[in-house]
């Protein structure tokens, strides 16, 4: 566990290297993943993270504490990454969030309107027998998600940020965040199911 924000901020302002190293090691992995969603290469993502930390070093004297330190750092990251993404002509249109529409489970899995039990499983999902490859399958499914779903699932489920933090970082509503999270999770689950051969 990291110390409270005021302790961290005091450490950063006074030039305490141990504090900086700790933050660097605790947050950079998830910052890399987040940055990677906006730019086209791993190298670009690493530069975005580096530029973000440089901005934090310069800017922490002016940190007001209006949000948590982590949210503040991630906002800088997102802004840095977006600028860079625009340069690379790769932008994620967070603001023009269309309802992605469509069910998250193949409608053929459910009984049709003429059935005695319309909308219920035709055949219940097969149980999963999970082997060593499960993690690999999940990782690949995550990579294949549409951009915005991947960002939200990464922040929430891989990195463990709260819903409030993710909404603040990405400046999206709680409802939009939940839709993206649900669609992303359902797609990962469906990918695993398909891999295991549970679904025809």
């Amino acid at each position: 566990m990291l110390p409270a924000d005021d302790v961290l901020v005091a450490g950063l302002r006074s030039g305490d290297e141990a504090t900086f190293a700790r933050l660097l090691d605790s947050w950079s992995a998830s910052m890399l993943r987040l940055a990677r969603s906006f730019v086209s290469t791993d190298a670009s993502a690493e530069e975005v993270v580096q530029d973000t930390w440089l901005a934090v070093i310069r800017g922490v004297a002016g940190f007001q504490g209006a949000s948590s330190l982590r949210t503040w750092v991630y906002r800088i990251l997102v802004n840095t990454a977006k600028k860079r993404g625009v340069k690379e002509k790769r932008t994620v249109p967070w603001t023009s969030l269309e309802p992605d529409g469509g069910p998250t489970v193949d409608p053929d899995r459910f009984r049709g309107p003429g059935d005695d039990y319309p909308g219920h499983w035709r055949e219940v999902p097969e149980p999963w027998v999970l082997g060593d490859e499960f993690r690999h399958v999940v990782a690949r499914a995550l990579d294949q998600l549409p951009e915005r779903q991947r960002v939200v699932v990464t922040l929430r489920d891989v990195d463990g940020h709260s819903s409030e933090e993710v909404c603040a970082m990405l400046e999206i509503s709680a409802a939009n965040q939940r839709v993206l999270l649900h669609r992303g999770r359902a797609a990962v689950r469906a990918h695993v199911e398909k891999y295991l051969g549970g679904a025809a």
């Binding site: 302002r13 006074s14 030039g15 290297e17 900086f20 190293a21 660097l24 950079s28 992995a29 998830s30 890399l32 993943r33 690493e46 993270v49 580096q50 930390w53 440089l54 070093i57 310069r58 069910p103 998250t104 489970v105 409608p107 459910f110 319309p118 909308g119 219920h120 499983w121 219940v124 999902p125 149980p127 999963w128 999970l130 499960f134 993690r135 999940v138 990782a139 995550l142 699932v153 489920d157 891989v158 463990g160 819903s163 709680a174 939940r178 999270l181 649900h182 999770r185 359902a186 990962v188 689950r189 695993v192 199911e193």
Partner: protein, 76 residues
């Protein structure tokens, strides 16, 4: 509530974001439907496995460069 409706509410349920009536229907459906119980289990398994993915790290060079920048930043 049908199974087809149930599967779209799973994240909202796990987030505690369903209104009271919908949550009651969701839980009632879950209690009676083995298929949806399994779906919910698999959903949870998926979420917990996502949390186990290995972290990426900064390269040693970048980390060193940042530590230098922090050390050498002029402070009053």
């Amino acid at each position: 509530m049908t199974c087809e409706e149930f599967v779209e509410l799973v994240t909202a349920f796990l987030e505690g974001a369903l209104d009271e009536d919908t949550e009651r229907d969701f839980v009632a459906h879950l209690a009676e439907c083995p298929g949806c119980e399994r779906y919910l289990d698999q959903f949870r398994t998926t979420i917990s496995e996502l949390g186990e993915l290995p972290p990426e790290t900064l390269s040693g060079d970048t980390r060193d460069r940042l530590l230098d920048a922090f050390r050498n930043f002029p402070r009053a």
